[in-house]
C-alpha cells in the first residue's frame, strides 16, 4: 500500500526543554506513506514530544524532520497540513459540529458547496451524519471523539497525528473506537502517527510500533514481532506479561546458553543480547509459553510450588515459586484437566529454551 518508505523522517532529532536533560535523544525514525505507526511508551518517555515536534508545536533542538522529502522544522504548524486529534478532543465548544468540521476548510477558502460536501462525507465516515447542528457539549465522549477524528481528516491531510485520543473513554467504548479508527485508516489510506501508553491499543491498531523509553526508540517493529521477540528487557517488560529470571551466563553457544540464576538453579535460554560467559542477563519468558507437566522435548523442566491461584474466567492465573522467583506467573486455560492446581501443591513446569530470551541485565 505504500510507495514512499520515508514519507515522514526524523533524522538525528534531539530535543531538550531546559538545556540540561535530553527528552528525545538522537531519534531516527522513518514512517512510510499510508502506514499506521504507534509511538508507545511510559509517560515521560518522549513520545508526545516527538508528536509535538512533528505537528510543529515544538522545535527540535537538533536534527531535522522531513515530510515527503522536505524539511519542516521552520514551517509553522498551520502551514504543515497535518491533521491532529488531541487528548481531550479540543473541539471548539462555541461552534456546532458542522462549524468545527468546517473550520479547517473555511480557513483554506474552500467554497461553501465543497465544504458541505466534505463535512457530510467526514461525518458519515464516523457515522455521525445528522449531528451537524449539535454543540460539542451535547455529545457523549465517544461522539466527541468521532467528531475530533472527522475534523482531523476532513481537509485531507497527508498525515494525521493522534495524541492518546482514547484516553478519556471507558474500556468498552475505547475498544470499539480502536477498531473504528483502524477501519477508517484502512479505508482512506492516510498516514497515521498514534501516541499511546496503552500497549493493547498499540498492538491492535498499528502496522508498526515504536517503543519509547528514556527519549529513545527501544524497538521499532510490527506488533507480533514486538511481542514475540523483544530485543531488550525494557520492551519485554513493557509489552505484555513477562516472567523474568536474573542471573549470569555460564555457557553460551550459537542458539543456546546456560544461565546460573541468582536465586539458585540453572536454566537454558536463547542468547539474544549476551555473547560471552560471565555476562549478567535477564531472562524473559512469556507466561503462556510455560506448560504444566511438560513432555520430554522441552529442555527446561523445574518443580514449583503454587502460591496463589487467581480465577480469570477463561483462564486461571497461577503464581508459583519457581527457582527462587516467587513472582512466576502461569496462565492455565480453564479446562477440566487442571485438577491438581491447588494452593501449596508442587507441579512440574517446563519450557523451550528458544522461548526464554536472555536479554540485557536491566
Amino acid at each position: 500500500m505504500s510507495n514512499n518508505k520515508e514519507f515522514v523522517k526524523f533524522a538525528k532529532v534531539d530535543k531538550s526543554y531546559d538545556g540540561k536533560v535530553l527528552v528525545v535523544k538522537d531519534l531516527n525514525l522513518d514512517i512510510a506513506e499510508g502506514e499506521f505507526i504507534t509511538m508507545l511508551g511510559p509517560s515521560g518517555s518522549g513520545k508526545t514530544t516527538c508528536l509535538m515536534m512533528l505537528a510543529g508545536f515544538e522545535t527540535p533542538t537538533n536534527g531535522e524532520i522531513y515530510l515527503d522529502g522536505n524539511p519542516i522544522s521552520n514551517i509553522p504548524p498551520h502551514k504543515r497540513g497535518i491533521g491532529m486529534v488531541f487528548q481531550n478532543y479540543a473541539l471548539f465548544p462555541h461552534m456546532t459540529v458542522y462549524e468545527n468540521l468546517a473550520f479547517p476548510l473555511r480557513v483554506r477558502k474552500i467554497s461553501k458547496d465543497e465544504i458541505d460536501k466534505k463535512v457530510d462525507k467526514a461525518l458519515s465516515m464516523v457515522s455521525l451524519a445528522g449531528y451537524e447542528s449539535r454543540m460539542p457539549g451535547q455529545l457523549s465522549g465517544g461522539q466527541q471523539q468521532r467528531v475530533a477524528v472527522a475534523r482531523a481528516l476532513v481537509f485531507d491531510p497527508a498525515v494525521v497525528l493522534m495524541d492518546e485520543p482514547l484516553g478519556a473513554l471507558d474500556k468498552n467504548l475505547r475498544e470499539s473506537m480502536q477498531y473504528e479508527i483502524k477501519h477508517i485508516h484502512e479505508s482512506i489510506g492516510v498516514t497515521v502517527v498514534y501516541v499511546t501508553h496503552d500497549q493493547g491499543e498499540a498492538l491492535t491498531m498499528s502496522n508498526r510500533i515504536a517503543v519509547f523509553n528514556d527519549g529513545k526508540v527501544q524497538q521499532l517493529s510490527s506488533p507480533d514481532q514486538l511481542y514475540e521477540s523483544p530485543v531488550n528487557s525494557f520492551v519485554a517488560k513493557f509489552i505484555g506479561e513477562n516472567n523474568t529470571f536474573v542471573g549470569e551466563v555460564v555457557d553460551v553457544s550459537k542458539d543456546k546458553c546456560k544461565v546460573k540464576l541468582n536465586g539458585g538453579g540453572e536454566i537454558f535460554a536463547n542468547p539474544i543480547s549476551v555473547k560471552s560467559k560471565g555476562e549478567k542477563t535477564t531472562v524473559s519468558l512469556r507466561p503462556e509459553r510455560a506448560l504444566i507437566n511438560p513432555d520430554g522435548k522441552m529442555d527446561n523442566s523445574h518443580k514449583g510450588k503454587i502460591e496463589e491461584v487467581i480465577y480469570h474466567g477463561d483462564h486461571t492465573r497461577v503464581r508459583l515459586n519457581l527457582l527462587g522467583n516467587n513472582e512466576f506467573i502461569l496462565k492455565v486455560p480453564n479446562s477440566s484437566a487442571n485438577l491438581d492446581i491447588k494452593l501449596g501443591n508442587e507441579i512440574n513446569i517446563g519450557w523451550n529454551s528458544t522461548d526464554a530470551r536472555a536479554l540485557d541485565p536491566k
Partner: protein, 420 residues
Amino acid sequence: MSSETNKILTTDGIPLEESLKKAERKNKIKAFLLVSPLLLFLIITYIFPIGEMFTRSIDDKMITNMLPNTFKSMEKWDGQDMPEEDVFKNFYIDFKNLVEKKEHGKLAQRLNKEKNGFNTILKKLFRQIQRNKIDENGSFKDQITSIHKRFDNVEYWRAIKRTAPPYTMAKYLKGMDLYLDEKGEISQVAEDRRIHRILWLRTLEVAFFVTIFCFLMGYPIAHLLATLPMKYSNLLMICVLLPFWTSLLVRTASWMILLQQQGIVNDFFVMIGLVADDSRPEMMYNKVGTYVAMTQILLPFMVLPLYSVMKTISPSLMRAGKSLGGTPFVAFWKVYFPLTIPGIGAGCLLVFILAIGYYITPALVGGASGTLISNQIAYHMKTTLDWSFASAMGLMLLTGVLVVYWIYNKLVGVDNIKLG
C-alpha cells in the same frame, strides 16, 4: 405509560411527589435559615436605605404641614383668577401659627425657591402680624393684598398651590437641569446653569473610556497570567493584586506625585527632551488625570474575571486551531476570543459600574474638568446639605446602572457573565 392515571406511590401508599416534597421541605427551611442573616443584612443595609433615599428625594411634606388650612381651601380654587377670601383667611391663620412657632422663615425660604420674591412679601406680612396691624374681623383679602402688590398677583398664589402635593419630582428634574416653570411645564434651566447634564455625560464618557482602556490593557495581562508557568504567573498575579491591596487614597496620592506639573513623569519628559521645561503639560486636575488613575485602579477588576475565564480555556484549543490550518491570528480570533467573551462581559460590566460611581479619585486628581457626578452628590451631601437632591441624584445613578445592566443583558446575556 400514562403518567396521569398511574401515580407513583411510595411503599406507604403516599404519592411519591408528596413525600418528596415533605422530605425536601426540611432542607429548604434549613437553607432559608442559613441565608436569613444575609437577607436581613441586605434589607437593613441596602433595601431599606434605598427606600429611605427614595422617599427623601421626592418628599415635599414640610410645606404641606406648614399650610394645612390654606391648601385645604385652595382645593376649591381653579387657579385662574385671584383666590377667594377663604384662602386668604386660612393663609393668615397658617402663617400666624408659623410665626408663633418661629417657623415662618423656613416657609419663606421654601416658597422663595418656588418663586422669587416671596421672601420680601412674607417678611412684610410677618411685621404686620407682629405689630397686630391686621384686623381679624375685616376682609383678609383686602388687608393682605394691600401689604404688597405681589400679594395681588395671582402668579404668587399659583406658586403656593403648586407646592401643595406632599411629593415632588423637582429634585429629579433639577438633576437633569430641568424645572417646572410657572405654568407647571417642564423646561430647561438657563444655559449657563446647566451643570448636571455635562456631569452626567462626562461620567458616562469617563466610565466608557476607562472600561475600554482597562480592557485593552487587561486582556494581554490576563492572557499572560493564564498561560505562563505557575512560578511566573504567581509573581505576575501578585503584581496585579498588590495595588489592589494598597489603600485607594495612597494609590491616588501616588498618581498625584507622578502626574503633577513638577512631578516625576513631567521631570522625565523634560529630561529626555520631549517637552520644554517651561511648557510642562498638565496631566492632573483634568480628565487625563482621572483617566490614568482610574484605569490603573480599576484594572484588577478587569483582569481577574478575564483570568478566571482564560484559565479554563484549554491550550490545546489554540493548538487545534493552528493545526487545522488557521494562522495564529485566525486561531485567536475564531477560537480563543469567542471563548473569553463571558470574562470580557463580566470585566467590562464590573469596571463600568464601578467607574460610573467613582468618587475619591476624580475628587483628588480630577480638578474642575475631571470631576464626576458622584462628586456632585457628595458636594450636596456635605456642603449644601441638600440631602434630598443628593438622594435623587444617587437614585438616578442607580437607575443608570440598572439600565446599563439591562442593555448588557439584551446584548450579551447575563448568563454569559463569568466572574470566577
